[in-house]
């Protein structure tokens, strides 16, 4: 009987004291950056390296430079299992501690936070994911998705296929299948592919895979029947591993299976073993631990036992992506500091920094990321920036870039994107701002 009462008391304590343990305001002379991570659950294979990359880059800056211009970076992780409800809980908790920018790392959560960003004055950086329409900065001042949106990425994929087939005219009559995660994320590429299919004359088939994507036999049976010339894969987490494995099982030519940049990492190919060799994916940066920034990471973090992961995992695709995302955050804050001074900044000030980011080749060299990604410039109208995509290939051991930088079909994407932005903004009752006055 005593156990029961103990539990009742415990439960009452849970109800009362639960969220009490939350508010610890950010100290002065620091910038607080919350990280929504998923190190557990069905999406952990993608989430873990990413979170580690983030951590290492922020820690590196604190170790090497003492933060950003002397302002220390304070990071806090919140585990959300790629679940929107837990993501909201995380966001609300961390927002209260003085967050000025957030990287949701989930398209679903990005959608949820977009309406909140202007109200809470928190900058949302969805790097290469999230809502494509938010790239129109006139309607969505608080949301950034540089270096590239899903729509631009899909158009770059079609351009790549055209180049491989020997010219865009050769696309006529070709069969392209889009295998996608049945969620807002996976569906993102569909409008672009649907627009381009009649224009270029290829046959498009859309095949949805339901969350979490562990069972795809039916999908790949269909693929086998269609026998497409190219497959574009928009998966995430465990879905990618299964898709690559299934493709290998049906004997599909792997170099014609191209993932989007969330479907091309080490964890996606290892399960399929040798069968995955030749698998390609889109990317916007290089993989591997061979850049100068990695040497610093090894020297200042891993040699001192402060690294977030194992030494040999540094340089994985998503690790590098986490690093680049952290770097873009930092460089934007640094841009804002040029205008507002080297002190902790407000949400509005950081927003200005994101909007005026101009990351040059020279700057990339200074921070040790030369060759790792391309320079990028963001503007008030264009929150997607002028990023370009590339294609990388798995050779059985590592990912290597095998294409030139591909310019997306901006003339096709941008008008669609602007129309979509009007639709999305109308839902939220926004008004368009005049960028000439910014």
């Amino acid at each position: 009987m005593h156990a029961k009462w103990l539990l009742i008391v415990l439960l009452a304590a849970a109800v009362v004291a639960g969220p009490m343990a939350t508010v610890a305001p950010a100290q002065d002379k620091t910038i607080y950056i919350p990280l929504l991570v998923y190190r557990t659950g069905a999406y952990a294979p993608s989430g873990i390296p990413n979170a580690n990359g983030f951590n290492d880059y922020f820690n590196l800056l604190n170790e090497r430079d003492g933060g950003i211009n002397g302002v220390k970076i304070v990071i806090e992780e919140c585990e959300m299992q790629y679940d929107t409800k837990q993501g909201v809980e995380c966001y609300e908790r961390l927002k209260g501690k003085g967050a000025v920018l957030v990287n949701p790392y989930s398209t679903g959560i990005t959608y949820q936070l977009i309406p909140k960003a202007p109200v809470d004055k928190v900058v949302m950086h969805s790097m290469g994911y999230g809502m494509t329409a938010s790239a129109d900065g006139r309607w969505f001042p608080w949301v950034f998705n540089f270096p590239m949106t899903y729509w631009s990425q899909a158009s770059a994929f079609i351009k790549y296929v055209g180049a491989q087939e020997g010219g865009m005219a050769k696309l006529k009559g070709k069969k392209i299948v889009h295998v996608y995660h049945n969620s807002p994320y996976g569906r993102e590429a569909n409008p672009t592919l649907e627009t381009l299919a009649p224009q270029l004359g290829f046959e498009l088939t859309l095949l949805a895979v339901d969350h979490p994507g562990q069972e795809q036999k039916a999908t790949w049976l269909q693929v086998r029947r269609i026998n497409p010339d190219w497959i574009y894969l928009s998966g995430w987490g465990v879905m990618n591993q299964v898709a690559v494995k299934e493709a290998a099982t049906i004997g599909y030519k792997m170099d014609h299976l191209v993932g989007n940049w969330w479907s091309g990492s080490e964890s996606d190919v290892v399960a399929a073993g040798d069968g995955a060799r030749g698998f390609r994916s889109m990317t916007f940066h290089a993989a591997g631990p061979g850049f100068k920034v990695h040497q610093d990471v090894f020297k200042l973090l891993y040699d001192k036992g402060k690294g977030a992961t194992k030494r040999e995992l540094v340089g994985e695709v998503y690790y590098n992506r986490g690093m680049i995302n952290a770097m873009l955050n930092i460089e934007s804050v640094r841009t804002a500091m040029v205008k507002y001074g080297n002190k902790p900044l407000t949400g509005e000030q950081v927003r200005w920094g994101f909007e005026n980011l101009n990351l040059t080749e020279q700057r990339l060299e200074q921070i040790g990321m030369k060759g790792m990604m391309r320079p990028i410039r963001v503007s008030c109208e264009n929150h997607e920036g002028n990023g370009m995509a590339a294609v990388q290939q798995w050779d059985g051991k590592k990912w290597t870039i095998v294409s030139d930088w591909i310019e997306p079909m901006r003339e096709v994407v941008r008008p669609k994107l602007e129309a979509a932005a009007v639709d999305e903004a109308k839902k939220l009752g926004y008004t368009m701002r005049d960028c000439s006055k910014e």
Partner: protein, 358 residues
């Protein structure tokens, strides 16, 4: 000593059959409801309201709905997530088509639409019972989610396939959408769940509730004494779905702000079913206790290590949280299979005898 009903004489049937026949209960409940309306909006910060209390209230409403069906009418259902999705998508369609209609009316109307859908999927319950019915309601869950994913009309042809809560006002105050303040959202959720609980409590005490319980306890016997299974079961399905539908609409409009079908997946159905089982089948109070347990315990467990200054890796913390949570569920079910509501009842009986137990 304090909690004793000696000297309280009932002189009318009405007084004898009141929801809370004991004066102390009435006072305590009235104070608790009053406090719920007054204290949190004044005291609690946004995190408390938005991330803790609002989801608790919304899930309590959904749990009441499922409890009517499973706890009172004895029909096991795994379609709760689907019915909640119906409510959410109906509310989105209604409020975008008729922006001038009061959002509370929209919630209730979407509840009615969910009730209609629930009625439809309740039809198999006339022939199928128990676990087999649970499997049949699973079909509702998967079909409805598939439908909302498949037909772009439901999301107003948005390319993303998500529904977003627009700004809507009640009596001039914004209660939904990004600009609504957390206290206003909280008050709306609280008012709806309070009204819903009151109606549900009266339903189960009256003719309808009794016929549900008769069907639950022995359907053949119930039929012989004149309870019509067709009407009774379908009524249970539709009223239950009404509650779930309103809860689903609230989930998007007051809590998430924007949602996709994944927010209503099969896990939601299980979650609400667990709330009902842990809280207590056939108890309105149990629905609240179950919702509190399922919603608040994980948040509590996440925050405890921070509170005591323990800094563990988040992944490890999450895993510990899941293990402790699972363990707690098992423990509760072992020590009290009838749920938290039964614990409460035992506590009350003990309190009546205190300080002279015999």
């Amino acid at each position: 000593m304090i909690y004793r009903e000696a000297g309280q004489f009932k002189t009318t049937y009405g007084a004898d059959q009141a929801i809370f026949p004991i004066v102390q209960d009435r006072v305590i409940v009235a104070l608790a409801v009053l406090a719920a309306f007054l204290v949190p909006p004044l005291v609690a910060n946004e995190y408390w309201l938005q991330a803790v209390l609002i989801p608790f209230l919304i899930y309590a409403l959904a749990a009441i709905g499922l409890n009517l069906l499973t706890g009172y009418a004895g029909q096991l259902s795994l379609g709760t997530g689907g019915f909640m999705a119906v409510g959410a998508y109906a509310a989105f369609k209604l409020t975008t088509a008729f922006p001038q209609v009061n959002i509370i009316a929209v919630f209730l109307l979407s509840g009615l639409i969910a009730a209609g859908v629930g009625l439809l999927f309740g039809i198999p319950s006339l022939r199928i019972k128990g676990f087999y019915l649970a499997v049949a309601t699973l079909a509702a869950q998967f079909f409805l989610i598939w439908l909302f994913n498949k037909v772009p009309w439901f999301v107003n042809y948005a390319s993303s396939g998500t529904i977003t809560a627009p700004n809507r006002t009640v009596l001039g105050v914004i209660v939904t959408g990004p600009n609504a303040t957390a206290p206003m959202r909280y008050l709306v959720a609280l008012a709806l769940v309070a009204a819903g609980a009151l109606v549900a409590k009266n339903l189960v005490r009256g003719r309808i509730g009794r016929s549900w319980m008769a069907i639950r306890d022995r359907d053949i016997a119930a039929e012989i004494i004149g309870v019509r299974p067709l009407k009774t079961k379908l009524l249970a399905f539709s009223i239950s779905s009404f509650y779930c539908g309103v809860a689903g609409a609230e989930l998007v409009f007051l809590f998430l702000g924007s949602a996709e079908t994944a927010a209503f997946d099969i896990n939601q159905s299980f979650l609400v079913l667990f709330m009902v089982i842990i809280g207590g089948l056939g108890s309105i109070l149990g629905s609240f206790l179950g919702a509190a347990f399922i919603v608040l315990t994980p948040i509590f467990l996440t925050n405890v290590p921070h509170a005591v200054g323990l800094s563990l890796p988040v992944a490890l913390m999450k895993q510990i949280e899941l293990m402790v949570f699972g363990g707690l569920i098992l423990f509760f079910l072992i020590v009290e299979p009838h749920g938290l509501a039964r614990l409460w009842q035992i506590g009350k009986e003990k309190l009546r005898l205190w300080p002279f137990p015999h």
